[in-house]
Symmetry: C2
């Protein structure tokens, strides 16, 4: 049988089909637009800030299909520069026309680092976040745009990003290890020794992007980093790190940490901010959560303390790929460390 | 936001997790062993043929974890050579020991084209089938093994493969195109013009591997090719083709063809054969079906005839990648043609 082809997933539901099928450009945009938490929070944030946008010049960094630019036009922007490097810019031009905002929204094909705008802007809007916030993110481009094109005192939407970590107990991975013990009953062949091999394969140093179920979360999440988009520098992004402490809700076997992010929009109305959260306690988004498996599960009881430090930095192999290093102490255990990275999904699987 | 990373799917259920996570070798083997239709049909076929296997020498081509080799040992084989080129051979050695059949099953690390066996064999068993039967399949290796190592009159399990085609009406793809008409109601931005772009992206020439729902199948499937593993040659595999005719069950919009395969094992007991089917009318397997989208849907009524010819041949870019060319006539329409190929999942997505 053929290994390589079988490692990839194709299925029939929208959620599944939305990835993958032939890497068609449309798929990723469909997924983003269909992510209601994402698109609606941006829409709400832009419309709630219409006092600050009306009559102003806006730059949309990485505009994609141009939907955020059109929200800004609807909020009364005088001009929106929708900068997009990919060929989806051609669709953005059509969508802008279809919504009769071509006098306001100007789609510019190119990277924000290379395009020349005719003027400085009062507002920057961008949906730049990647998995675990920083994986293949466009944040550096947003900061470039800020330093190059944003007038002093200008608005950045979103204006803040925060990173959280929490211990979890993921039953799926333990089920997968247990699967090999069930083979004998099913087929009469004892394959239980595969469980060790499976443990080595599954509990490796890859960052797994998946939806963590709320009931698998073992403590209140701890914020370990905050980025103020008005002030953070490209240099500071080279390592984003911070300490965390939290305590177990109850007795469980901790087998992973979960890392996720929120971004915050200023909002003139109370409560004066609007949060786009990718927390496992909130509705699912296409970002899901980043799961970091420990080498072996650790039994904890109620109030067992967790503490440590998380560092996020670009991979040496590819600056757009993120690594997450965690130093952690669970209860009375001595400190342990593990470094995780997002697997290179485009690499040829090993035979 | 980051496109590349978001094109890949990672999810939490077993079915999903079983692909992907870090290309760990265990994942693909877990998926194959957990595919009950696959593993149990092989097991049943081997045990039902125990009269022909008992006391005989067997070659397992591409043995993987060695499960088929152990079935053969359980069926009374005198000796089983489990030839496996990948590192999973190391696990096969352990599993063989764990099942106390190391005197019978000898795991040999290498390709069947290069290993030297100490003797000829009376039986070849192999699970060589890929998507759409021939995508990245090991059939050429099985034929090599047959010609080099199988004694005259020997047994091959399975001994026959058949390919089928049927027209289908896939609602998911039409839903996806319609999605763009729903955006205005949801977010106040008209994105309906994306539907054309989506159509071009989705209805391209990729072979999509997905589970076709029984109710989406529009006719009795038509067999268009049959391979007798005792006689087929590598030369004949360079193009596998055949004509088909079938008739619509009822009124529908045909938007794709579905191609799938069966393999057949001889069986001394009635009904004298045992079929492993990947038909949409049978329980799901990890092979799913191969879906070939037409450029536009065609309305048909009950008994509308379909006819044409299917050719399957290796891609010019990669001989292990399969192409499917379909010449087809639907009802009174003039003949049309379309060539499909499995997308290169390892290629870097286009920005």
């Amino acid at each position: 049988m053929s290994y390589a082809g079988k490692k990839r997933k194709l299925d029939k539901t929208r959620q599944d089909r939305v990835y993958f099928d032939s890497y068609s450009d449309v798929t990723v945009h469909e997924e983003m637009i269909a992510d209601y938490v994402r698109t609606n929070t941006y829409r709400t944030a832009i419309l709630k800030n219409s006092e600050l946008i009306r009559g102003k010049v806006v730059l949309d960094v990485g505009a994609g299909t141009g939907v955020l630019s059109i929200f800004c036009a609807q909020a009364g922007a005088k001009k929106v520069y929708a900068v997009e490097a990919c060929s989806i810019a051609e669709q953005a031009v059509e969508i802008v026309k279809q919504n009769n905002v071509e006098d306001v929204v100007e789609v510019i094909r190119g990277t924000v680092e290379t395009v020349e705008l005719p003027e400085k802007v009062e507002v920057i809007v961008s949906e730049w976040m990647g998995y675990a916030l920083l994986h293949e993110s466009m944040l550096n481009s947003v900061l470039y745009a800020r330093d190059r094109w944003l007038k002093a005192g200008g608005l950045i939407l979103p204006s803040r990003a925060e990173l959280y970590i929490t211990p979890i107990s993921d039953p799926v991975v333990e089920d997968r290890l247990y699967f090999w013990y069930t083979v004998k009953e099913q087929y009469g062949v004892d394959m239980s020794c595969m469980s060790n091999f499976a443990r080595r394969c599954i509990k490796n140093s890859d960052i797994i992007v998946s939806n963590v179920a709320m009931e698998d979360v073992l403590s209140h999440p701890a914020r370990f980093a905050e980025l103020d988009l008005h002030s953070v520098t490209v240099e500071e992004l080279r390592t984003v790190k911070g300490r965390f402490t939290c305590e177990s809700f109850g007795s469980a076997a901790v087998n992973a940490f979960c890392v996720y992010f929120t971004v915050t929009f200023p909002c003139p109305e109370k409560p004066h901010s609007l949060v786009l959260s990718t927390s496992p306690f909130y509705p699912e988004t296409h970002w899901k959560q980043a799961v970091l498996y420990l080498d072996s599960p650790v039994e904890v009881v109620q109030d067992t303390p967790f503490s440590g430090e998380v560092s996020m930095f670009p991979s040496e192999d590819s600056s757009r790929h993120i690594c997450i290093h965690v130093d952690y102490t669970i209860g009375e255990q001595k400190e342990q460390s593990k470094t995780f990275s997002i697997p290179d999904w485009t690499a040829e699987p090993q035979p």
